[in-house]
Symmetry: D2
Subunit: 342 residues, 4 copies
Amino acid sequence: MTVKAAVAGASGYAGGELLRLLLVHPEIEIGALTAASSAGDRLGQHQPHLVPLADRVLAETTAETLAGHDVVFLALPHGHSGEIAARLGEEVLVVDLGADHRLRDASDWQRWYGGEHAGTWPYGLPELPGAREKLYGTKRIAVPGCFPTGGSLALAPAFAAGLVEPEAHFVSVTGTSGAGKSLKPHLLGSEVMGSASAYGVGGAHRHTPEFAQNLGLVAGERVTVSFTPVLAPMPRGILTTASAPLRAGTDLDAIRTEYEKVYHDEPFVHLLPAGSWPSTAAVLGSNAVHLQVTVDADAGRLVVIAALDNLTKGTAGGAVQSANLALGFEETTGLSTVGVAP
Amino acid sequence: MTVKAAVAGASGYAGGELLRLLLVHPEIEIGALTAASSAGDRLGQHQPHLVPLADRVLAETTAETLAGHDVVFLALPHGHSGEIAARLGEEVLVVDLGADHRLRDASDWQRWYGGEHAGTWPYGLPELPGAREKLYGTKRIAVPGCFPTGGSLALAPAFAAGLVEPEAHFVSVTGTSGAGKSLKPHLLGSEVMGSASAYGVGGAHRHTPEFAQNLGLVAGERVTVSFTPVLAPMPRGILTTASAPLRAGTDLDAIRTEYEKVYHDEPFVHLLPAGSWPSTAAVLGSNAVHLQVTVDADAGRLVVIAALDNLTKGTAGGAVQSANLALGFEETTGLSTVGVAP
Amino acid sequence: MTVKAAVAGASGYAGGELLRLLLVHPEIEIGALTAASSAGDRLGQHQPHLVPLADRVLAETTAETLAGHDVVFLALPHGHSGEIAARLGEEVLVVDLGADHRLRDASDWQRWYGGEHAGTWPYGLPELPGAREKLYGTKRIAVPGCFPTGGSLALAPAFAAGLVEPEAHFVSVTGTSGAGKSLKPHLLGSEVMGSASAYGVGGAHRHTPEFAQNLGLVAGERVTVSFTPVLAPMPRGILTTASAPLRAGTDLDAIRTEYEKVYHDEPFVHLLPAGSWPSTAAVLGSNAVHLQVTVDADAGRLVVIAALDNLTKGTAGGAVQSANLALGFEETTGLSTVGVAP
Amino acid sequence: MTVKAAVAGASGYAGGELLRLLLVHPEIEIGALTAASSAGDRLGQHQPHLVPLADRVLAETTAETLAGHDVVFLALPHGHSGEIAARLGEEVLVVDLGADHRLRDASDWQRWYGGEHAGTWPYGLPELPGAREKLYGTKRIAVPGCFPTGGSLALAPAFAAGLVEPEAHFVSVTGTSGAGKSLKPHLLGSEVMGSASAYGVGGAHRHTPEFAQNLGLVAGERVTVSFTPVLAPMPRGILTTASAPLRAGTDLDAIRTEYEKVYHDEPFVHLLPAGSWPSTAAVLGSNAVHLQVTVDADAGRLVVIAALDNLTKGTAGGAVQSANLALGFEETTGLSTVGVAP
């Protein structure tokens, strides 16, 4: 018996990626596709790569058009999912790909996003200590932000094992699709090709409190976070350079052993063999996170590199992975660790 | 009962794409992986995106390492497959992704490639008139060149129906992976990024006789071919602008009707709705060809735009599609029309 | 005594490139900078690469703000320059980088652009037979379109010498800056990176009549033109593949001799040595056009490849070159044949 | 009286950029051009963008071919310049664009590069405290590494003023040309386009001791350095995210005031207005470094973003700037702060 899913925000990048994944999901049938300003259009006008769905017509995003599904994926701008979720019924699995239900602390929400906090839902990053259990059978999932996904997995084992001081530093090089289809001058092809640029510097990016929340929970103490995103000329992919000060007596062997132990059975976290380094090309379109760890002895720091596809594991693939757990499917159903390269 | 396949040339781009597709093929099991200078390496060193095969070790490409398989895919430089195929036994399905067995005319082979002609095998472009039938149950398949794949499908219906004069003009914008992993200065990232350049101009590209062979067979008369490839800053994709002089009395309606008729039931040829134009992004990683047709009334020409992924439909996907026919599987088994975008 | 120049449309790509060139022009002083919706902004907000002008404030584009200059460069959307030019006085050199004054035939204007034809000004492509003389001392210049610049120079010598039949075929691969800073979804970085796409196919691009006008004048008879632009993932550059049917008795030697003769003394047209092929990288930021010619004997066609920078020789550099002639300066003043590569 | 300059390594990226700059340098005449494996070739085969020098033939790099010049620029792999410099005579200005003469500590040289240390020359980063004075009239210049150029300028004012703790963190996103024209698989266009990847992680990159040397001299105490380079899909440009722990009592106003004071009169360091952030596109081909500073209050860190062109200010432009000082020219002669964008 397949499960029927609606996708709200089907004309955007996150919605498109979700549909790409659902098209090969053996247990999920694609139901209503909805959008805001694109309602009434054929999906093919917005997602020409989704040939099997090209002639589906986009409905308006309302509680009515989303009703009658077992699962509703919300790929909406932040601030829009709380109200719709409230009207969908408690028996429906609602998966929020936006930011609304990620933060635990309402004051964090107000500082970083503004407006009323919609509440906190189980956090859809099963590889984080304690997270998977809360996803089994849940009816509400908050999909993590694309940056905290890779960054948290990069340092969580070190914090959990007390190998580093509670001070994390992240610089994440990201492709442009993370910004969505927004018509902003700095996102034009002419501007981004051939150029790297920084934004949200100095702790100004909204994913910062999510990093701190995740790592704080793992470390059992407040973790100071410095995070800088850098926009690079590629459509997809995030490469995060993560580091933290090593605690005395920790060496690379101990770290590697710890990471191998933690991630050995994780289907989507792939610790590379020593000497290999992650690249975003190797995870394009896949749900895998590639990691490599090393020690900078002179600087006294653990350095971890993490690569993922911001739209797949960083958004839509993470959503499907968590939905699988909520629906009682095998966690890997419909998902792949195989990238499209070159 | 699954079929066991070996891949020769597994460290290259064509071999890598083939493995990506075989990993999701429900009827084919991946056997030996072989290479030339990379023999002895882990596959993960060369294809980090193929996580499930990362620890497979590359054998040397010999008739011995390839023996014992039901299917052998040869992704080798031209001139290497004839001898190996001869030693593989007639009961084995041999699929040659290289150029050796595409041309019918030995003098064409000698002019364009040099050396002895290895022979002519059934041509793996099922959508070409008369081609599909020859692939059912065959034990030898010559996979078409990436450029003739799109170019032939772009104009074949017009030639078959006698709508245009026998004079075809092609300019194909291609990504860099078509040139393979060759360590040549003009293929360095620093050289190709931000740059478009022409090569093989004036009928100098080796795919030219293959265009002429395909269209001549369809038209039933000699077709003059002008073909220019242009290298563009992208890893994958071919966008072909094809044109031919319209015969008197032909209009766009007649052309569109003809193309719709010819391609209506083809699972991998997708004629876009009027007003939409193909882009290579929409077919990245997919086995689809996107087409659009129009008439340039002032110039008196039919103009057809075709987009495909040179590594998928243009090489490895085309190989799997034809192998499906040879093996008695559904033609679409393990293949997709869904691209990875953006 | 330097000449004072105003630039209307200073916040756009053409305006920015013009300012980049004027900053090193020894005879021209930069006066008013104007814009439409960006009026009031610092130039640095829109053109961060023009550091010496970063604090200049953009005025509104009106006849008043542009008054009091010896030269006024108009980098405006089409349809806007006629009226402003009329109010600037006949003693002012007005250089229109837009399309308004390029076409000689008012019916062509109405068919391709619509609205009233603003008139025809001397055409700023000095390398075209007969064009240079009309630019000496003129007070009005119509800067050519970026596509017809390269395409016309590619085939003009062949048409002028009667070496080819009057039937020209062009496919031009172009960077994205030719479309300006328009906020359109298909111009987003996420859409253009990794993708080639066609547009304006079938003679639908507005530069088509300009090709036909240029070549018709050179050939002395009507030339049929087929033109297709292809958008490629790079900010700048146009690589044009041009071809035409050879007349009987013409061979490559004759063609090469003719092209060498015609372009030998042209400072900005660089016929490459035999065996070298143009790339847009080699002309980035330069005012040079790189050409290579060959003969496709099987197809019976002359094939010419031309590379130029659409913003430099294709727009702003061409404007400065023609303005130099109009102002009595050396034609090459302030311009360079040196590109920025890699 | 112009000065005559030879360029050793003229076929590489650094050599090509140097020639691009020297072509517009009013006081320097270009003499011998030399190369290793490319000796005997026309320069146009390797640097098609340098049209005015296209027919110059490359000599072999020897003390003899380089003799008879006032200035010799050495753009050679490390380990090659010491011996040649020794044979060039003390009256010749030798500018080493390689690493041989940058480090002061022979044991650093041996650890990071191996082999005998060639000695320490005046360091060609005039904007560093104390550096400019040592360049006036010198006959030997060690041009800084491309990464330490931006990184040192990003944090030097803070260390000099004692505003931060002696612990610097750098992640530098770099274009591919920094790796030179090396024929390595990971530098192929197919590999780098669409991909970000890390290398030299954990303090393994050879520029690390140069960062530490520069900042240690400025701070007057040992500075711990963590440095990670990230390869991004663009030919040129480095965007560095630099940070350090703030000392108590330091706020953004104090920092901004200090940076404005230090860089106010520097012709090539451009502190952007508050709210603007650097991009590498804005400095392409220019000798400028664009900086922006901020404070991450939660993390207690100063964060500085620096953008430069690795081939211009990061290599060849820096070389010309320092050579100007050595030769008694105006420091800015032949150099520009204007980039080529978009």
